[in-house]
């Protein structure tokens, strides 16, 4: 069969064909009433069997309906977990900087980042970051050698014994919405006070260590200072010491003058003293 005439078909598609007119003239068969009743009965029964749509699931499945709230809740949990885990590290740089008067008057207290707190061998921070417990242990050391080592460790950096406390970070606490600055300031003051106390303690420690280094050991029987009771005090200059011995002799305190003389000779063995000096014992003049 050949292809029908396209022009006639286009006219038909426009509704201008006799074919469409003839079709519309066909008698319209009506739906029998019993069919109407049957269909409507089905429709009515279907509604009666199922509750109204408003009380039932509407639209997509429960998973689709709950997916968005679930995603939001999961995201919130993840964010909270991240904040709780990363919070302490992130708070450090956010703390304000304070100018705290240092015990030596030359230090500027600034918070060191965590990376600077880690001691690195061979660098000044190695000395700076000597823990406090180490200094305490050294203070209670029983031997002078240990104290000497500690003193060298503390003073080798050239920054004095107060360095360890300067670099110690301020203990951080969760910031409060109100008065966070006051809390931080109070903590900084406490830290400065602690640093000051620690500095003084370290000073005393250094002085003690230096005295031990200067003084001979007690087991050798030698006198460490012009006065045995003042072993921690540095020795007097030779001339002053000799003058003091002369005074003792002139006052008749011969035994004490002799004791001082022996100590002087021990402390200054090479110091030239005249053979007729009144400081010498009578047996040596």
């Amino acid at each position: 069969m050949s292809e029908p005439n396209d022009r006639s078909f286009e006219e038909y598609l426009k509704g201008e064909s006799a074919v469409s007119a003839r079709y519309r003239e066909l008698p319209e068969d009506e739906v029998p009433p019993e069919l109407d009743a049957a269909v409507m009965a089905k429709a009515r029964a279907a509604i009666a069997q199922s509750p109204p749509r408003t009380s039932r699931r509407v639209g997509p499945s429960s998973w689709v309906r709950w997916s968005a709230p679930f995603a939001v809740a999961a995201s919130a949990v993840v964010v909270v977990a991240i904040v709780l885990n990363a919070g302490p590290e992130q708070k450090m740089p956010m703390q304000p900087h304070f100018d705290v008067p240092s015990p030596l008057g030359e230090r500027r207290y600034t918070e060191a980042p965590p990376s600077e707190l880690a001691p690195v061998a061979g660098t000044p921070s190695e000395r700076i970051m000597v823990p406090e417990f180490e200094a305490e242990e050294l203070t209670s050391s029983s031997t002078a050698q240990e104290a000497d080592d500690a003193s060298r460790t503390l003073s080798a950096s050239g920054e004095g014994p107060s360095a360890p406390t300067i670099a110690q970070p301020v203990p951080s606490s969760p910031p409060t919405p109100q008065g966070a600055d006051e809390v931080q300031l109070a903590k900084a003051r406490e830290a400065a006070s602690a640093a000051r106390n620690e500095s003084e303690r370290q000073k005393r420690l250094s002085a003690d260590i230096a005295a031990r280094r200067t003084a001979p050991s007690a087991s050798s029987g030698q006198i460490a200072a012009p006065s045995a009771s003042a072993s921690a005090a540095p020795p007097l200059p030779p001339e002053d010491w000799l003058e003091r011995i002369r005074t003792l002799r002139s006052e008749g305190k011969t035994s004490e003058a002799d004791e001082q003389w022996r100590a002087f000779v021990t402390a200054y063995p090479d110091f030239a003293v005249s053979a007729t000096d009144a400081a010498r014992p009578a047996t040596q003049q």
Partner: protein, 194 residues
């Protein structure tokens, strides 16, 4: 989607939500076209009645799953088309076996035309001849023609309903119209026949 189609969808959604009155309106709007489609497609009143109930029964049963994706009319006649296909398979009549030689039908009508002018077919006779010509169309072409004329579907929708490409549906419609025109031409005045 025109206003009526949108209204049809709204009625179906209302019925889905339990509004029986909405279904009554929807049913009254489409029952005639659907019934004629089924009757003229199957050429069997009893079968058309059964299919009519089946189609509306499926519409009712699918109301919970109904979503506005296309015109309600397309949704309705797709169900009807599928029910008709099932019917033809059930009764053992294939689309191909349901074909009558259109040339033989033209001869019959031409024989009527060979009578004296005064006894030429009346309008009723022409109508009857047209009806017989429609019935003798191959089912695929009759299906497409009915969907276009009775249901008012576009060629796109017809292709969607029948499961073929638009061009296939258009070709089927073109053949159907050509055959019907060939039957009608001897009875039409020159001014009408085109």
């Amino acid at each position: 989607m025109d206003a009526q189609s949108a209204d049809d969808s709204a009625l179906m959604l209302r019925y889905r939500d339990g509004d029986l009155r909405a279904f009554e309106l929807l049913y009254a709007r489409h029952k005639g076209g659907l019934y004629r489609y089924l009757q003229r497609l199957t050429r069997d009143t009893e079968a058309a009645n059964d299919l009519f109930q089946d189609v509306w029964g499926k519409v009712i049963a699918s109301r919970d799953r109904y979503e506005v994706r296309a015109q309600f009319k397309t949704f309705l006649f797709q169900i009807a088309h599928n029910c008709a296909i099932d019917y033809f398979r059930r009764v053992g009549r294939s689309w191909a076996h349901n074909t009558t030689d259109i040339a033989a039908l033209a001869d019959v009508i031409a024989g009527d035309e060979g009578q004296a002018p005064e006894s030429r077919a009346s309008a009723a006779q022409v109508q009857s001849a047209f009806r017989r010509a429609l019935d003798t169309l191959p089912p695929e072409q009759r299906d497409v023609f009915l969907l276009y004329e009775e249901c008012g579907l576009s060629l796109d929708d017809i292709g969607h309903v029948t499961g073929v490409a638009k061009e296939t549906a258009k070709s089927r419609l073109r053949y159907a119209v050509s055959k019907l025109r060939a039957v009608l031409e001897p009875h039409q005045p020159a001014s009408i026949a085109s």
